[in-house]
């Protein structure tokens, strides 16, 4: 029976009945005690006293030595002679203090009519190595995968389309961080994925080596322009790069759903399930994580006064009848004048009014020949300038389908985090050859303590410890990788103590 539904109380009831069997239990109502019973009672009392002294139920050992017939840990033949004694001894289990291992010999009661299953005490079988077997764990995971695949076939999206992901990127310190995140998200997507990477500055080995391990179908093209250093210019260039990717979709006649995954964004898995529902042109809500960068200084005092600042969302806004009524865009007024201009500024990076990543559409909208394209889509070859957001592709913004329960679900998050433009990182993030000579950072033109750093933020040096220990005679200073100056990073104090001198 399900004992989880019968807590302590049932068990109390059982023990209660042992203690007061008289009026209720009709089975043990023998008023006359035979000498045998008295003898067994006395013996039992004696055993109890001895057990009390010794501290464990020695009666078990006695029976083990007296009555064991087989050497197995588990069943032995039932003993009818000791049946009554075994029953009375085991019933009062108050004295059992010693934890019993699995080698306890079972004392069995009388059996039912030649059943294989016997009532009474049984051994607890434990195998010699009760830990998971890795091969079986892998098999179990394969089973789980297969079951989930079947579930998706039955209940998930019928006829899922390929997802065409457009990502503009360029080689920089944070590229590995961002691109790995996007890559892993795409590797988890249960549908077919075609990943179009447009790289500013031409195709590079860095990017190629990063995405080589993904196992995804990728189209890696270069764009013959270097990424500029100001956010405005960067946004413009990225729009151009995305259009380039859309032209590829048109040329190759890729069929699927186009989405824009900027390499520093974070995507949830539900996003990919939700965009399968798009018919022609859809929009999702994007959470903007722009304000989290600078919460020190001014915000500290203000935080207690104002309520928790809610995360701004960009996306479709619906009216009561779940029809598209307008757009939530980012309010740039509070940041007027304080936003970042250059990529490595320490100010807040603002998104534009509507980010590309919040839009998805059917790739057939881009195809040249008419087909069944709706007439509100503009031809991308006819676009003269660049477009700020995909809404520039449609003539009438009201045809956009709001996704994610009409924009109520935030399915992806926008964030822009970059290192300084001149920050260096080892190519392919491999330190080769191992560092032998270190160069003091005094040689670099970076200032040591930037004036804006607040007082409680200790100038942390030696941020990235080279993992390879090297025997060097120069213990003056180590090369500092100043890649994360924009954010306060607390390194382990071990590093800072080792570098006693702060240059």
């Amino acid at each position: 029976m399900k004992l989880s539904a019968l807590p302590q109380s049932y068990l109390n009831r059982r023990s209660n009945s042992f203690r007061s069997p008289g009026p209720l239990d009709s089975s043990s109502d023998s008023a006359v005690k035979s000498p045998a019973t008295i003898f067994w009672l006395i013996l039992h009392g004696l055993c109890c006293l001895i057990s009390l002294v010794l501290g464990f139920r020695f009666s078990r050992l006695v029976f083990f030595f007296l009555f064991s017939t087989s050497s197995t840990n588990f069943y032995t033949a039932p003993f009818r002679s000791t049946a009554e004694l075994a029953k009375t001894l085991d019933v009062h289990s108050v004295l059992s203090t010693k934890p019993v291992s699995n080698l306890e010999l079972p004392l069995l009661n009388k059996t039912a009519t030649n059943s294989r299953v016997v009532v009474g005490r049984h051994g607890i079988r434990i195998r010699p190595w009760p830990h998971p077997n890795p091969i079986e764990v892998m098999k179990a995971h394969k089973i789980i995968e297969r079951v989930q695949k079947e579930q998706r076939l039955q209940f998930g999206v019928k006829d899922p389309s390929t997802i065409i992901v457009v990502t503009p990127t360029y080689v920089r310190t944070f590229q590995a961080l961002h691109l790995t995140g996007v890559m892993h998200s795409l590797m988890l997507v249960p549908y077919d994925v075609v990943w179009i990477l447009v790289e500013a500055g031409g195709i590079s080995n860095e990017t190629a080596s990063l995405i080589a391990k993904s196992g995804l179908k990728t189209i890696h093209v270069g764009f013959n322009q270097r990424m500029p250093n100001s956010w405005d210019e960067r946004n413009k260039l990225e729009s151009k790069m995305r259009l380039r990717a859309l032209r590829i979709v048109r040329e190759k006649k890729l069929d699927g759903i186009v989405m824009f995954a900027d390499d520093s964004n974070m995507h949830s898995m539900e996003l990919f399930d939700e965009i399968q529902n798009v018919k022609w042109f859809g929009a999702v809500s994007v959470g903007i994580l722009a304000t989290l960068a600078n919460t020190d200084e001014s915000a500290d005092q203000k935080k207690d006064k104002e309520e928790n600042p809610r995360m701004p969302i960009q996306g479709p806004a619906c009216n009561v009848s779940n029809m598209l009524a307008g757009w939530h865009t980012f309010n740039t007024l509070p940041f007027a004048g304080k936003s970042a201009v250059y990529i490595d500024d320490r100010a807040t990076v603002l998104p534009r009014k509507l980010e590309w990543s919040g839009f998805v559409f059917n790739s057939r909208l881009l195809w040249k020949d008419g087909g069944d394209k709706p007439e509100w889509i503009k031809d991308i070859d006819m676009l003269h300038g660049d477009i700020e957001s995909p809404l520039g592709l449609v003539k009438d913004p009201s045809v956009v389908e709001p996704l994610g329960s009409c924009g109520r679900q935030v399915l992806l998050w926008w964030l822009r985090v970059e290192a300084r433009a001149d920050s260096k990182f080892p190519p392919r993030w491999i330190i080769d050859p191992p560092l032998d000579i270190t160069v003091p950072s005094k040689r670099t033109p970076w200032p040591d303590a930037p004036p804006e750093l607040p007082a409680n933020d200790k100038p942390v040096m030696g941020i990235q410890e080279p993992i390879v220990k090297h025997t060097t005679k120069t213990r003056t200073s180590r090369s500092k990788r100043r890649s994360k100056r924009k954010h306060e990073t607390r390194t382990d104090t071990q590093a800072s103590t080792r570098h006693s001198e702060q240059n």
């Binding site: 029976m1 399900k2 004992l3 989880s4 539904a5 807590p7 302590q8 109380s9 049932y10 068990l11 109390n12 009831r13 059982r14 209720l24 239990d25 009709s26 089975s27 109502d29 588990f74 029953k87 085991d90 289990s93 059992s96 934890p99 019993v100 699995n102 306890e104 009661n109 039912a112 009519t113 030649n114 059943s115 294989r116 299953v117 009532v119 009474g120 005490r121 049984h122 607890i124 079988r125 434990i126 195998r127 009760p130 830990h131 998971p132 077997n133 764990v137 098999k139 179990a140 394969k142 089973i143 789980i144 297969r146 079951v147 989930q148 579930q151 998706r152 076939l153 039955q154 209940f155």
Partner: protein
Amino acid sequence: MGKCFWAFLFIAFGFAPSITAEHNPRTERISGSAGDVLEDDPVGRLKVYVYELPSKYNKKILQKDPRCLSHMFAAEIFMHRFLLSSAVRTLNPEEADWFYTPIYATCDLTPTGLPLPFKSPRMVRSAIQLISSSWPYWNRTEGADHFFVVPHDFGACFHYQEEKAIERGILPILQRATLVQTFGQRNHVCLKEGSITIPPYAPPQKMQARQIPPETPRSIFVYFRGLFYDVNNDPEGGYYARGARAAVWENFKNNLLFDISTEHPTTYYEDMQRAIFCLCPLGWAPWSPRLVEAVVFGCIPVIIADDIVLPFADAIPWEEIGVFVAEEDVPKLDTILTSIPPEVILRKQRLLANPSMKRAMLFPQPALPGDAFHQILNGLARKLPHQKSIYLKPGKKILNWTAGPVGDLKPW
């Protein structure tokens, strides 16, 4: 010629829906005769006469403690209510095939809600004395065409402790009657031949209310919530569940594939719907509502109870639906479960998804076709027609009315 063409079309369209219905990929009909048996309609195949007992045997007991309507032994109460308004009920005892005695024997609850079986034998005795003196039908067969619902731990042995239950054995005056009980174990004193095993009562509305979307991926491999050691009565282990639950804990507590613990989560039903296998080990008795919950939530039951007889075993092919693991194989449970081929697992899940399977395990109010009430009636109908030998010559007595412990003979 035109007529032939139209007739052909008509036949073709008539067949098409039935063909397509069979190919529903989500569920699978239990093939063979067992599948049809689940959907049998007992109406018209048997007639049941319900004795009118004084309310001290049923209504008054329920009034004293309405908790009896929601615990796992509530089947006896709901069966009575169902029969009162069912189409198989007849008011003329002469044409009845089966006779039902409404006694709520498991409704004597402790303050914490557990049934005490100590008065039940006397209650049953007293009821049978009443019906044998007021109606002639008991005496003419000595109860061979009567059935009783005894959903307690060990059925009509009327005790919660197995050794005592075995000692008592089935109540002597019920030796010839058909028993409808939840307990079932082969070669056990408390399971009579010809008994009908039923599932324990599980509240259907509560389970319906906690359904999660079916596309939620099943990510738990094995799930179990419950006790492993009964610390109050059997702290060292070895008695409780014949050591099987303790073995599960000791072998698999470090295994991340096994989501097992003694906690009482509020998301118990939801978690079961996210699991592939649900363990249904024996406790103090081999049956448990976990089996019902697993079937309703589509989780493959892993039954660890040697020689257990599962509910409606003649109508439901349990080997095809669940996984049976012998108690001695518990240390190898992970090997056993991971070596089941995925196609077999998917087939089991399809069989479990069959709505008639889920309905057969539940006691809904009001009754639905194919539910557990109907399965009980189907079971009774399958035992008809009665053999001529059950009818005794007048005055002949087979049962020993004074057998059993002395305490049972006291009047109730």
